[in-house]
């Protein structure tokens, strides 16, 4: 009896710690962004609509916006496109696109065919800005507040549920237009 006391005293807490680890583990495929609560990285990139113009991250400050990383090569981006159009129609906050390692002509054709949910799209051919945002796959979407801080990050598709349950509740009502 006594000789099992010590091993059990070690074993039981170990099982408890592992159980907590398993049940409290965040979704294993999703890696928490170290950018949360930090300023959204700066960039100056060409505008997809007009390569002569430049999109500056600094110019986006002062209001809530969604920063959506996409590409025409990305299947998940096609799947979330309907939701992005829904977000555009909701007119709560603008979508800023980052066209990641893509062909400009194909990207423009994609937006013409499927509808353009973006207020503006920055073009990142080299992928440097995507690296600054810690992007490791498309689509990824960042919710950014008026101070330019990253409030929330969606890895993978923005679905209707993600939009209504995760993104919208994080935006203060006062930020909605017309209130």
């Amino acid at each position: 009896m006594n000789r099992f006391l010590l091993p059990m005293a070690v074993f039981v807490p170990l099982v408890a710690i592992l159980a907590i680890g398993i049940y409290h583990a965040p979704e294993k495929d999703i890696i928490a962004s170290p950018l949360l609560g930090k300023p959204a990285p700066d960039f100056s990139l060409p505008d997809l609509a007009d390569a002569a113009r430049t999109v500056h991250a600094a110019d986006l400050r002062g209001r809530w916006y969604l920063f959506n990383v996409w590409g025409t090569w990305c299947g998940g981006c096609r799947a979330e496109h309907e939701t992005l159009l829904e977000i555009r129609r909701a007119n709560v906050l603008p979508l800023v696109g980052l066209d990641w390692k893509d062909d400009d002509a194909q990207a423009r054709a994609w937006l013409t065919q499927l509808g353009n949910p973006y207020a503006v799209v920055a073009v990142d051919h080299a992928g440097r800005t995507a690296i600054d945002y810690g992007v490791y796959g498309a689509p990824e979407t960042f919710l950014i507040n008026p101070q330019g801080l990253v409030v929330y990050k969606v890895v993978g598709e923005v679905t209707h549920d993600v939009w209504t349950r995760e993104i919208l509740p994080r935006v203060p009502r006062a930020a909605f237009p017309g209130t």
């Binding site: 170290p34 995507a130 810690g134 490791y136």
Partner: protein, 151 residues
Amino acid sequence: MRRTRLLRLPGVLAVLAALALARGALAVDPTEMPTPELEQRYLALTHELRCMQCQNETLADSPVELAADLRHEIRDMLLAGKSDAEVRAFMVARYGDFILFRPRFTARTAWLWLAPGVLLLVGALVLGRVLRQRAALLPQDLTPVDEDTPN
């Protein structure tokens, strides 16, 4: 028999030499650094950073485009005179601790680093105790057992 084996040897060597030469071309990462010292540091860094997309491959081994972009970033930073620590800090700031195959020693990872030592210590203490107990029992057992002697 022996003769044919010897004759084959040059052929085998030629194939090995060709493979060795081809290795550079077949490798995932064809990057070459200008000095052996930079090459060494570049290889070390790309082998200890994770490809975030494939997750169980290093940046050096991964064929995906993002890994290539990150390798370029490492190359450019090293060529610009940045230290290994600066390169690691750059990656962690963007992708988090997960990008490091060798976790840093922080409050969160302390148990990870210390647990093996603690377990070893516990094991040594248990072993010591068991051995002392046995040693204490030993003198009592010194009287030889004489199985054949009836009582």
